[in-house]
């Protein structure tokens, strides 16, 4: 395999490139996606290469973008649509919940929603209102949607290719905080990573941390502190919020006896709550401490001057690690 150093943006661009070349039914569109190549430059250069029929700008209309993709899917195309920030998806939410997620069931399998809806999400980038949220749970809570969140360039490329090839709709949430922060050797060739599979990043014995997206990197920083304190952490990157990889998560909890979930979402009724339910249902007799979560607050992510209160750093994560281990 030929390897190339890429950041996450480049890895996702590369995945687009491969799928656009490989399948004439693939097309991509959204606001500022064509000429400009996206505000984060994820689709940069693709219009030049594949033409404005397959890579194009749309009017400023999220419901229109997503609803059009529903029709394209019924006609057999395989659209990738970009929502500029996850905070702007809501005008298109009706299409997602009422049609994207339901078309296969409603049409008794005759039509599917073989589309990817991409959106940068997550905070701590000194952004404006509506540019920092982590609302993955509302998608995972919607029957009929797959929800994928990568944490590295390598995973981003492989998961994205699998998402485009999925015959069911994938909400592909990109942790914008680490879009360019991590560089990694990524194969230039096509490869895919199966959806619905978590990955054990570090093995450990005292505590399982399940995390994903930009929080993986912060957790790894906290694990350095934990190691100094003599605590051995097993880190699981969930990668797929739905379907959720119970097997990997449960196996890890059974081994360590403790669970801490680390993410950026609001606390109530979230992905972390789901993981804790899994721990209770499937690993109850192995638990040595209550499964617990470090999430955001049930509060709007603050504007830049206050975001340090909301978004976790290594200290905050280490503090929770200690609490769970010392329970």
């Amino acid at each position: 395999m030929n390897m190339k150093v890429m950041n996450m943006v480049q890895a996702i661009t590369d995945a687009h490139d491969i799928k656009l070349a490989d399948d004439p039914d693939v097309l991509t569109f959204g606001e500022d996606v064509g000429v400009e190549g996206g505000v984060f430059r994820v689709t940069s250069g693709l219009q030049k290469k594949y033409g404005a029929e397959r890579v194009f700008d749309t009017p400023l209309a999220e419901s229109g973008i997503i609803g059009a993709a529903v029709g394209m899917c019924a006609a057999g195309l395989r659209p990738i649509v970009e929502i500029q920030f996850s905070g702007f998806v809501y005008p298109g939410f009706n299409q997602i919940v009422s049609h994207v997620a339901r078309m296969r069931n409603r049409s008794r399998g005759k039509y599917g929603s073989q589309m990817v809806i991409r959106m940068p999400y997550g905070g701590n980038i000194k952004a404006l209102e509506h540019h920092s949220e982590s609302m993955e749970a509302i998608f995972a809570h919607t029957p009929g949607l797959k929800v994928v969140i990568p944490s590295t360039p390598y995973d981003a490329k492989g998961l994205f290719i699998a998402s485009v090839e999925s015959d069911d709709p994938v909400i592909f949430m990109e942790p914008k905080r680490i879009y360019r922060a991590i560089k990694q050797e990524v194969p230039e060739e096509k490869y895919s990573i199966p959806l619905g599979k978590a990955k054990v990043l570090t093995e450990g014995t005292d505590l399982t941390i399940v995390s994903y997206g930009a929080m993986i990197r912060e957790t790894q920083r906290a694990m350095v502190m934990a190691k100094e304190a003599g605590i051995s952490v097993e880190l699981v990157d969930l990668r797929s919020i739905y379907p959720i990889d119970k097997e990997t998560v449960v196996q890890s909890i059974k081994k360590t006896g403790r669970l801490l979930v680390v993410n950026e979402e609001p606390s109530s009724c979230g992905v972390a709550a789901e993981l804790i339910a899994i721990a209770n249902e499937e690993a109850f007799l192995s638990l040595e401490a209550p499964p617990t979560r470090l999430t955001g607050f049930d509060a709007i992510p603050p504007l830049p001057k206050g975001e340090h209160f909301y978004f976790h750093d290594a200290f905050r994560i280490f503090y929770e690690i200690k609490k769970v281990v010392e329970y």
């Binding site: 606001e31 505000v39 700008d57 400023l60 603050p302 504007l303 830049p304 209160f309 503090y319």
Partner: protein, 363 residues
């Protein structure tokens, strides 16, 4: 009358002065005093000074992402000057001059873009809704305000503002449609600055103008030269008169050009040409009004320098209010989520305070 004369089907744009500031359409020149014209010029210069300096503060790392208004000042002065105390302004996010005229302080604007929610409080500015980032969503709030004004028999007009890109959102349609049915006193103002980030207005609609969309909702529409202060003032005046007469909303499309970037994170060289920028430079709203004032003997070119110097000082003072605002408190995250904070949320704050104490002790 204005709306009849400039029926969008006629594809005419209301213009009162040319690029050199010469009055070419005296019939529609608003009847305003020299003082008001001069005051408006000064406001436009103030807005431009504030904007230019804010972009440079951003470049110095003293401000976060900021969307400059440069090029759109005539709209803000022309419409802003019509807004009375009992009227409402429902902004999007590129209406600095209008917000200042509504009573917002420049320091509020700095606080907001500088990362404090407190910047949306606008103490001393009644009837001003916070900045609305989700495109076009705020227009529908204008309908609700208009309905309330009618119900309470208040003489208020609502100015609801959106950009050209926003006219593609479903909310734009719903706002104009409901507004027409309910006959609410709302001036829908579209600042057509030609670009929604990188996407030109030609890619937003197949219609001949944005003003012509008014026809489908049964309300008057008008296209106005948004870089012509007098035309903007006149359009606003007649729009307000229409609303106050109980005939319902109007749609005004103000043709302008965003001279700066979408925000400080944007690079316009990716999607527009220097030639186009130069063409629009000739229509610059500040220069046009200045040329008019000079021709009338109301202003001298040399008057600009002391004016701009005093504005620079004023902007610096307002920026200092922001920079000295003090630390963001944990309470600021929680205290406005609800009027009565749920116990669980209070516990989340308490738990975080415990962490802060632990961290403090570790230092």
């Amino acid at each position: 009358m204005l709306f009849k004369e400039y029926d969008p089907h006629k594809e005419k744009m209301l213009q009162v002065m040319d690029n050199d500031g010469k009055i070419i359409n005296p019939d529609w020149k608003p009847d305003i005093s020299d003082e008001l014209a001069l005051e408006s010029y000064k406001l436009m210069q103030f807005e431009r000074t504030a904007d230019t300096m804010t972009v440079s503060y951003q470049r110095q790392g003293r401000m976060f992402t900021y969307p400059p208004n440069i090029g759109q000042e005539a709209i803000h002065a022309g419409f802003g000057k019509q807004i009375r105390k009992q009227d409402w302004l429902v902004p999007a996010f590129r209406e600095l001059g209008m917000m200042l005229l509504k009573g917002a302080k420049l320091s509020d604007i700095f606080l907001y873009w500088g990362g404090y929610e407190d910047g949306s409080l606008f103490s001393g500015a009644p009837n001003l809704l916070p900045i609305s980032v989700p495109i076009a969503s705020q227009l529908i709030h204008g309908i609700g305000l208009g309905y309330a004004a009618k119900l309470k028999k208040e003489d208020s007009v609502i100015f609801a503002v959106v950009g050209d890109g926003g006219t593609s959102e479903g909310d734009f349609h719903e706002a104009l449609n409901i507004g027409g049915v309910w006959k609410v006193p709302v001036v829908f103002l579209v600042q057509n600055n030609r670009y929604a980030i990188s996407v030109p207005v030609e890619m937003q609609t197949a219609a001949k103008s944005l003003a012509i969309k008014s026809c489908a909702y049964g309300i008057p529409g008008l296209q106005v030269d948004g870089n012509d202060f007098f035309a903007c003032y006149r359009a606003a005046q007649d729009a307000v008169a229409h609303c106050r007469s109980g005939k319902g909303p109007v749609l005004i499309e103000a043709m302008t050009y965003r001279k700066g970037a979408h925000t400080t994170s944007d690079d316009p060289s990716l999607y527009r040409t220097q030639k186009e920028e130069e063409e629009w430079e000739l229509k610059d709203p500040v220069k046009r009004l200045r040329n008019y004032l000079i021709a009338q003997g109301l202003w001298k070119e040399s008057d600009d320098e002391p004016l701009l110097a005093s504005y620079k000082e004023e902007v610096e003072k307002e920026f200092a209010v922001y920079e000295n605002y003090g630390p963001y408190k944990l309470d600021d995250v929680f205290q406005y989520q609800f009027k009565d904070m749920p116990e669980d949320l209070r516990q989340q704050q308490v738990a975080y305070e415990k962490f802060l104490n632990w961290r403090e002790a570790k230092k």
